[in-house]
Symmetry: C2
Subunit: 341 residues, 2 copies
Amino acid sequence: MAKKNITFNDIAKYTNFSKTTISRYFNNPDSLTLENQQKIADALVALDYKENKVARILANGKTEFVGIIIPNLYLHYYSQMLNQLLSTYETYGYKFLVFVGNGKEETERQYIQELLAYKIEGMIILSHTISSKELAECNLPIVTIEREDKHTCSVNTDNYMGGVQATSLLYKNNCDILIHINADIAPDVPAYGRIQGFLDICQERNIAHELILKNLGNTYQETSRTIGQLLESIEKKYPNQKKGIFMSNDTHANILLNLIIRKYGTLPDSYRIIGFDDSPISRDAIIPTSTIGQQIEKIAGEAMELLVMQMNEQKKRKPSPLPAPIHKIITPVLVRRDTTE
Amino acid sequence: MAKKNITFNDIAKYTNFSKTTISRYFNNPDSLTLENQQKIADALVALDYKENKVARILANGKTEFVGIIIPNLYLHYYSQMLNQLLSTYETYGYKFLVFVGNGKEETERQYIQELLAYKIEGMIILSHTISSKELAECNLPIVTIEREDKHTCSVNTDNYMGGVQATSLLYKNNCDILIHINADIAPDVPAYGRIQGFLDICQERNIAHELILKNLGNTYQETSRTIGQLLESIEKKYPNQKKGIFMSNDTHANILLNLIIRKYGTLPDSYRIIGFDDSPISRDAIIPTSTIGQQIEKIAGEAMELLVMQMNEQKKRKPSPLPAPIHKIITPVLVRRDTTE
């Protein structure tokens, strides 16, 4: 099975050049005459030489590898983002070493050390476990997406604008009370903007509102039970009012929608619902659900562009460091479907 | 930003050993005395030497890289499989170069050539575009999953058993007519077993049945329209009969379920439905849907085991080729939910 690899020695013997000359052909071809370049090129064809990129990497330091660290692939948001990042291979030629953290901080740290030993050229980080300060200390071009990003370049959705869009739509639907259900996230995480957008619009326009910050659980059963309890208490608290509910993601919006439909057989006029992400579930739900869409293709494209810019700088003889991290913001898109008017 | 890398030259100068001795320390340490090993080890600490794995690869040929080629990450089946494959990093230490084909055969071929130039140790292929014959010609350890696998080692779900399980459950639900809707797939693709299992049970037990093989479309809108038309013709053809419908995947089962519920407000007793894959949508649907679950974690684990076995063989001085490709079959699991009795 193992076919013998052609070495510089073999090429040297075949052409009667020295090994040093062969090495120069690969690493500094301009130092040879055109005639000698041609002789070696012909020999490579005759010998069926397969380029050994590992050898080239050692010579010029360019691995064309980029590391990607993703928290998980269960959430559609992450798998779609990964799909778009990997698709940039056709544009830039970078190959991606992908790692899923699944919350294991120490394994993630060990993996990053391994990547550095392999001379990768840059990293794209979606995982939340390691602080941007620690990441920046890797001294490598890095772009983070939708996570704490004080010390790293980043691309994020304009979560604040998304919160404003969702809240404004529910308000225009003449709801009596607006409710936002989210996890109790830290203010330095980009997704916190959704909460701020909700609060600002409600306060600015003097709208009756309730903010429910609660961990909804890590399994479907748990989440479903918790949302069921929240629905019960909302029904008791606001019995004759039209309720506009802004859920923090489409999976949770779908669970709420199904609970209401199992109870009433339909979505009553007294409920308006909007989710976040534009995941397939928002479209495949029993009633197609309004949502705030993240422009995932655009976010992935901008992230790669920002990374390539930094990686190209590193290839210069005297790379100049960025004066400060660059943060790009991508606007979200309101998707109106049948759970709002 | 760029910190100077410590080279063998630097270590040689610091220790007063030759470069050859330093090289031997990394590639054949036993050829040095323990005392000299210790001197070099101390120098590495003093110089803050970071291992350059690229150099080690050149020395021993082991990159610890495995290539994965996936058709897309839109389908949950693929993103979940990728999650499980990547998670084996903790067990085996292999790093994964991941590529999504998105149906582009030529890009995929080019990518494989690149991977070979980087001296990857093996590949796991889920994409269908390149024949197993062509893949086998790469002369590299390969495992394919759920695709044509005549010339490659493979791990597949027992699709035939899945078809038998789904059909038997609908039969036990006292349906008058059993219907299987699937794409018109080739008999050498493992998923064809679902069709064969359906047909064999129906014929063996003399059950009235209809097999509908039809491309349901590539977009949600198209698929939804096509399934709507199929539902209409089924209703006309079998008006007073209890219909047991076996859909080829959970996404399609969910679309059918939603169409029926939008029409009747509930799932009438005259319909029983079962899907395939145990995707989240089968559980998140308005009526949790019965399905045939693939043991994705087990499939991924067996695939890596089969690949590592081949890769270890390649590291021997005289690797012996496999006499024939090994094919492993993983049994599926019947998941009973509320769309069957």
